[in-house]
Subunit: 436 residues, 2 copies
Amino acid sequence: MKEIRVGLIGFGTVGKGLAATLNTQKDRIRKRVGASVTLTRVADIGVKELPEQYRSVTLSHDAGDIFTDPDIDIVVELIGGIEPAKSFILTAIENGKHVVSANKALFASHGREIFAAAIKHNVEIGFEASVGGGIPVIKSLKEGLVANRIESIRGILNGTANYILTRMTDHGTPFAEVLKDAQAKGFAEADPTYDIEGIDTAHKLAILMSIAYGLHVSVDDITTEGISKIEPIDIDFAREFGYRIKLLAISHNHGDHVEARVHPTMVPEDHMLANINGAFNAIEFIGDTVGDILLYGQGAGMMPTGSAVAADVVDIGRNILSGAVNRVPALSCQPEFIGEPHITPLSELTCPYYFRVTALDKPGVLSKISGIFGQHNISIKSVIQKSRHADEPVHIVLQSHSASEADVVKAINEIDALDICTAPTMKIRILIDDED
Amino acid sequence: MKEIRVGLIGFGTVGKGLAATLNTQKDRIRKRVGASVTLTRVADIGVKELPEQYRSVTLSHDAGDIFTDPDIDIVVELIGGIEPAKSFILTAIENGKHVVSANKALFASHGREIFAAAIKHNVEIGFEASVGGGIPVIKSLKEGLVANRIESIRGILNGTANYILTRMTDHGTPFAEVLKDAQAKGFAEADPTYDIEGIDTAHKLAILMSIAYGLHVSVDDITTEGISKIEPIDIDFAREFGYRIKLLAISHNHGDHVEARVHPTMVPEDHMLANINGAFNAIEFIGDTVGDILLYGQGAGMMPTGSAVAADVVDIGRNILSGAVNRVPALSCQPEFIGEPHITPLSELTCPYYFRVTALDKPGVLSKISGIFGQHNISIKSVIQKSRHADEPVHIVLQSHSASEADVVKAINEIDALDICTAPTMKIRILIDDED
């Protein structure tokens, strides 16, 4: 019986998920692949002993033991972060090993170097688990939708941020309190910056855009705003206007330039993305042939991520067995056709906006504020003015028709400089479905 | 430059969609595959001339011209129906051609014979387009979810039926009227039987089950009920109970036996499947590793189906180019491991039910009816009794707790035999999420 041998670097949550998956699904995978896929080595600096069920797996504390083992076909990197993960992966490639990893931060910032090395050494790089956890989003994009020009990508790509927004929406709890609770429950990390500031989402969007458009997109190309400034009051007003607030990754393909942004977004409440709750992820593609496609599932976690890593291992294993390595290029396009991205400047964005202006409740304040919006070509669709206590500043909440980001920035700067304004104006972009 | 040559049988709606896709996406596919994928021949008995843009494509009226052309690598069958499609496909296979088809009726009833022939002649069979139109559902199941035991499948797999139910729900229009309107608009066929009676959905479920479970499931294994008996009043009562009525394909994997059924189902209104509207399709899988996955998109139509057919053509083309034919087996499992299904008898099904009893408005009627349910171990959760006019029969609508189908059939037979009952009792099964 043929066998595919796997070496795993990093026996943390996802590493354990992969080990468990390859164990539990051993017979199922063998019946499908026609060969065994076996975890033979684990390297983890902090693990003293592997659990009982991995008796036949060799443990070491040195990743080098995995690269230099001539019997290992595929190296799985699941330690995360940039270094030493990057060096490990490059060394594995130089040793002729195929690589599977869930490391979105690494691929979104150093992908070009890694993919170039893989091409040079004719090995495969699998990274399905880097976006959308167990959802087969990268395979769908590279293979299922191959006969499509991808017109747009929109997604809820970070489960922690979506969990926090869902809790804030359902219970009216302030951001800081939900975050603390999420940390206590293990749904958010001790340092939640990547999740709540949209950086993790931007990593994933960079990967999706690279594949969808055949461009070398890096995380630095993506405008990123997080959710930490969203207040329960914004969620309430969103509801009054018929929206839910979601942290979205958004990209539109304009041919010679592409949009790339991550920010809190007001999503119409009957849109599918508005109804993705808790820690779930969803990715929507619009293709010129297929139309609207949405893929939904758990975007993180030990087992869902293990499912995606195992799928990559099996995929590469099948290529090894049938002598078809790099049957599908890592970034979908043949390397010589991958281009450089031209990113639409954010100032050129046009969309409807939600504004929450905080001002003293004096006569003429609404007229002054709406006057400034008018002077900057921002046409207002509806206004709600609410004060909670007589002596407190009021919230003037406005929904605009489509306006340009450049105009919006100027108007807000002018409004925030007014004496009567007591806090910075909140702006949230509104998703429109006909913007495609 | 290498080239993959495609011969197309059937230049109807989907055939035109494939031709248009291969034309429009020619450059995009070449940059990804590293070779051209070209439509070189079309056979259609009723087409006199191909449109201008297909000048280099050879048209004939004889499918035999395609099988015998030594230059053709892949034969695409898009005429639908059992014969002559089946003979065409078998002849193509015997001539060593790979085959792509969207023909769900054929695969669900004669799949075993076709797949056996393909194995014998070492050719590939692509049928992504047979389920869920442009949604890459089969590829996801065979590859993306390979490291999962699929626990259940639930799907809205027929766009016509879902369009009709959506219109009935949104506008309160009776079934017959919506159907007539859908036929006028081209959303339903002149003979809508396959769509509205659940047969098309059952074909698709048989295909999904075969792949998911590694079993030879045929359409005959699936209990099938359609939507033609649903009345607007049922939709109204569903809403009062917090449900929407959807035609669902449902299968649960119990290990030594599997459920397989297609029927109108009351879906809790906050479930994603309740919110799939119009002609869209959605397929939900629960895998033991990945958890809950849902794939959504257009389940039919010229271009979405063309997208899926083209993806199969590219997939097989890649295998031809890299010498990896049958890299992934057609039914996911290696042929020697595919088993025979043991289908759970419908009588053993247990779920909550909705009942609408139509009876004369006489004293004691509710007591009589609820008494019969009680005698058959069917415990009632809630009852609504509504009469529209004084002299007309009333609707007694009951929602039960989980009950056995065998008991339900007995109870309804007894109730319908009562003198006071003026029309057959309507029963609709209720989806529960914790039944998994």
